[in-house]
Amino acid sequence: MVNLATLALSAGSLLATAEEEGHGVELSDGGLLAQYAWLMVVLPFVAALFITLYGKRTPRGGAWIAVGTVGFVLVYGLVLLISHWATPIAHTENINIATIGQFDIEWGVVVDGLSIMMFFVVGAIATASFTYAVSYMEGDIRETAFWASFSLFAGAMLVLVSAANILQMLVGWELVGLASYLLIGHYWEEKENSSAAMKAFLVNKVADVGLIIGVLIPALIVGSFRFHDILGAAVEGNPGLVKYGFVIGLLLFIGAMGKSAQFPFHVWLPDAMAGPTPVSALMHAATMVTAGVYLLGRMFPFYNSVAIDVLPIVMWIGGITMLIAGLLAIVQDDIKRVLAYSTVSQLGYMVAAMGAGAYTAGLFHLFTHAFFKSLLFLGAGSVIHAVHSNNMSDMGGLRKYMPTTFWTFGIGSLALAGFPLLAGFFSKDEVLASLNYASSHGTPSATFVMWIGIVTAFITAFYMARAVFLTFFGEYKGDPAHEPHESPRLMTVPLQALAVGAIVAGYFNVPGIFTPFTDWLSGREFAPGDHHAESFDIFVLVLGSLAGLIGIAIGYSFFFADGESQEARDRRFRLPGPIHTLLVNKYYIDDFYMLIVNFIKRPLANAANWLNGLIDAAVSGTGILMSVLGKFVYEGLDQRGIDASINAIGGGTGEAGGALRYIQTGKVQQYAAVLFIGVLLLAVGFFIVTSR
């Protein structure tokens, strides 16, 4: 039953809260546009189901159907965004799907600044990646399965983003994990790929232990799964939430660390590159991996009110992650792995910003990063498509062969490196500025993280310069018989579109000048309580930009040289032996995890199985004991004792005894007799005990 009354009530209280909170802006319910937002969520699932059932009979495995649905999401998201820009919307629809005690379990769609921003990002990046994939996946061995899973992902991501309650978010969370598993393992003939898929799923599952517990505690305290109720109670200082705030905040963050690949859960993301490149672009760069950041954003009023002590931990995890992942990106040869570690590192920036209390800065970096990182992945895919290798040592000189890919990839790299006036420049600066701001507003240790951020900015610029120069400059080192060529238009047009995004996305939040993005995100039910600098922080701005420019310059000096051999480069740039070994072995973190996994899989599992045998042996042993006992009772007492005494008196009942002995040889009878005697004895004992 759709609980209309509660729905009306919640909508009413929503408006009321908005006024109480004193937003200054009045939130509208968004009218029909918001009420039908569920269409965005449902359509991709419909597409996934249709493709699963009929994809093989549809041209191109249903590719265009999939593209159509995400195109719809983009258009719908854009229209929502524009109307939200005009009049901020905050609206929730709920449908009850079960009631347990006082608990209502619901499906809901929340339409507010935060979710609208994500609708738009998911729609935009998905449309680009899907369109690109139409060409990229042409002739793939399992095209139908690909499109079904890809559509499933879009739907699952939208379930997550549109979640009006924390339980639904968990559902979306796990469903995107499923889609990720399916797509990472798309080429499952290779054990390496199916292992990568499994690794992604299991690492996330470990982190989800935190998430699951973190979801159920606040729900039990507040008596509702709705964000509306939980955040409301947190803001009002609900004593239970105050008491458990730290624990809940930490547990939820552990979940976020899994999906957003934060140290020490980051290990799955680089391996996830086993999936087709459009998957890496959409899921493992732009959208799915940002779910953790989104969760922090959605729960931000909670963190800011009752879990404020968790935020420094969040900030430091982000800081550690950005640095260690950035360093790993330097030694990779696989271009997708460079980008994967870069993604981990950039997610570190977002998380660090959230931890510094800078809600807008963190999400703004999510927003800009989505464009330039998906651009980079799709560009890498275009290159891989051309040279049939992931390794940069097989590339080189490609700018001559693939001009469009080159210049779009170049823009993406510059944006990521924080080159002035491109998207990454603005958002990274805001992250660093907010860290600096936090250091003077209650979190002194933010200074350190800010410096880590600046160092990482340098590292980022350096490895991206390396990637660009190794790939597009110098001599082509691949198969000379196979001259690379530019990708078809279906692939280059999405690249160009995303390149535009990588240039302009940053201008939606220029501090003190033009900040619609800030307004979008603050247009929600509970004030997130954002901490950030109101204008440019010149000190940070100069330092951050310089770090990026120096990184590019050093990268240039090491790796830019047309016509130079690989060996010559290696002579110029070589990390000290131990550091190189440490980085190549990924700090041995994976090996450490494998140690644990193998311990569970071998000795521990075998011990459990062995114990099973032991229990069986005990049971059999009892059985044997009983049958020996039975035999003794029968032959020793019954036959010899009682019968013998009778025999001694009357004599000659041998025949009867023989007959009895004949029956006794039947095993089942013996079992039954033993069982009967046993139960009888127990019954007597039982009644003696119970009748007391």
Partner: protein, 533 residues
């Protein structure tokens, strides 16, 4: 439909399969077509009537026994033919009639050796009566009879149609056929438990005579009424022993660690349909017994025993999952997974909360359809590959795409993926364990919750591992020349309803929880009253 509501409906649901079995006895063995048709029609009628029961059921009063009747039966011991269903038994009854239909459809052209469909169908039909009967019985004697009725058909099913592989017995080192060993083991374990259960029932009967009510009775509701309202202390010092006796009876059936060792052998040795019925319904008889009998009649003892049950449940979860990782036989792996999943159900029950017990019931239904389907698929696969050794399988998704797809989907449901049926039971059991009933040890239950949550990781681990070994990778060379056909019509016919149910229950759990919630709330309320007084 007054005739239906006054007990005839339920009676027909329970006994139509028996009638059909009697008819089957009368027709010659060679008439296979007729035998199959009669069995199918009977099971369909039984299922159809249980669907009618859903419509006749008043969900507003789901906490009360409905559609039932009470007729004098053995007057000398005051045992009655008392039947009825409430919100807890309704979903389980429907599940049992539903699965029986699918089992017969699947059997249509999957006859395990030594063939003889007539006898096999008769056993299924007897099982159907026993299973549905257990869920509608309101009288302990009746309950016991139905509970035991499932024992013999299953014993023969395993013993005659089971796996003929030779195994060596532990300690005595004798080599016997798997089916013989497993069937006797199954029989003895269950009988062992039932003997104690019967003792418990008898003790309740005699003790009720000494209570303030003054009448000896086997009536479950009356006993519960005595325990929670009339004379809560009526069992005196015998109470712990009675609970222990019932516990043994039910725990063997669930099965709870360490009484579970019959299960992997029985499941592995049983023919496909036998494994399906075992997993889908028979295990539920145990957990249902806890919810229907132990909790309402022995509330205080349930409280005392709850921590022990919780600990055993958690051990079952972890132990079952670990044991799965050590298996090389696919069917045995699925069998062990039941130990873990039923651990979640027991964890839910041990919390004694509305959420926990609701979790248990939906967990039972979900496990029934998911693991039932897993056994169907595993059976069909071993039918084609003639092996269940995972090291020989691999690339199944390539050899049989539809079969592999269904296996993958079901494994995902089994690992508790949200949006599919398995999620709710697991998640809500954990929710219940965070806040168990007042008076239970918070630390212990919260620790159990954390360990249970870790168990979900292991569950995902072994299922994904199984998928990797069986479904993914390149097919082994030995299958290159073997003709393997993908799913057949009867298989699809039997499986698609389960697939639909898995999604439906996952997306809209109200299908079950809508019925169970009031009934569970009633039980918890009674417990609280009894324990509080």
């Amino acid at each position: 439909m007054e005739w239906f509501d006054s007990g005839w409906g339920l009676t027909l649901i329970v006994f139509i399969p028996t009638v059909a079995a009697a008819i089957l006895l009368a027709i010659p063995r060679s008439e296979e077509g007729a035998a199959k048709m009669i069995a199918l029609v009977a099971s369909l009628i039984s299922f159809f009537l249980s669907v009618v029961a859903i419509f006749q059921f008043d969900f507003g009063r789901a906490d009360q026994m409905q559609l039932g009747t009470k007729l004098e039966w053995i007057t000398s011991i005051n045992a009655n033919y008392a039947i009825g269903i409430d919100g807890i038994s309704l979903p389980l009854m429907v599940l049992s009639t539903f699965v029986v239909v699918l089992a017969i459809i699947y059997s249509w052209d999957h006859w395990p050796e030594p063939h003889n469909p007539k006898a096999f169908l008769i056993l299924i039909l007897f099982l159907a009566t026993g299973m549905a009967g257990t869920f509608v019985a309101r009288d302990l004697v009746l309950f016991f009879i139905f509970f035991e009725l499932v024992l013999l058909p299953m014993y023969f099913m395993i013993g005659v149609w089971g796996d003929k592989q030779q195994v060596t017995l532990p300690i005595v080192n004798r080599v016997v056929e798997m089916r013989l060993y497993a069937s006797i083991k199954f029989f003895l374990f269950t009988l062992f438990g039932s003997a104690f259960m019967l003792l418990g029932f008898l003790a309740l009967y005699f003790k009720s005579g000494d209570s303030q009510l003054g009448i000896r009775t086997f009536d479950i509701e009356v006993l519960s009424d005595i325990a929670t309202r009339v004379d809560p202390g009526f069992l005196g010092s015998a109470a712990p022993w009675i609970f222990a006796a019932l516990f043994l009876g039910f725990a063997v059936k669930v099965p709870m660690w360490p009484l579970h060792t019959w299960l992997p052998d029985a499941h592995t040795a049983a023919p496909t349909v036998g494994s399906v019925l075992l997993a889908a319904i028979l295990l539920k008889l145990g957990t249902y017994g806890f919810v229907r009998i132990s909790l309402p009649i022995l509330p205080e003892q349930s409280m005392n025993w709850a921590p022990i049950i919780a600990v055993l449940a958690v051990i079952s979860i972890i132990y079952g999952s670990l044991a799965c990782l050590a298996q090389t036989d696919m069917k045995r792996l699925i069998a062990f997974s039941s130990v873990g999943h039923m651990g979640f159900v027991m964890l839910g029950i041990s919390t004694m909360t509305t959420i926990g017990i609701n979790a248990a019931v939906i967990g039972m239904v979900a496990h029934g359809i998911i693991t039932g389907l897993l056994f169907f698929v595993a059976g069909s696969m071993s039918h084609r590959y003639h092996t269940r050794e995972m090291s020989r399988l691999g690339g199944n998704l390539k050899l049989m795409p539809v079969m592999g797809g269904i296996l993958g989907f079901t494994a995902m449901a089994s690992l508790g993926l949200p949006g599919l049926a398995g999620f709710w039971g697991e998640f809500m059991a954990l929710v219940g364990a965070f806040n168990p009933l007042d008076g239970l040890d918070l630390t212990l239950f919260r620790t159990a919750m954390v360990i249970g949550a870790i168990g979900t990781v292991l569950t995902a681990g072994y299922l994904l591992w199984m998928l990797q070994k069986v479904n993914l990778g390149e097919p082994k060379a030995e299958w290159a020349s073997v003709e393997l056909h993908d799913v057949e019509r009867t298989e699809l016919l039997a499986w698609v309803p389960l697939l639909v149910a898995i999604v439906a229950l996952g997306v809209y759990p109200k299908i079950v929880l809508g019925a169970t919630d009031p009934a569970v709330a009633n039980i918890v309320e009674n417990i609280t009253r009894a324990v509080g007084s």
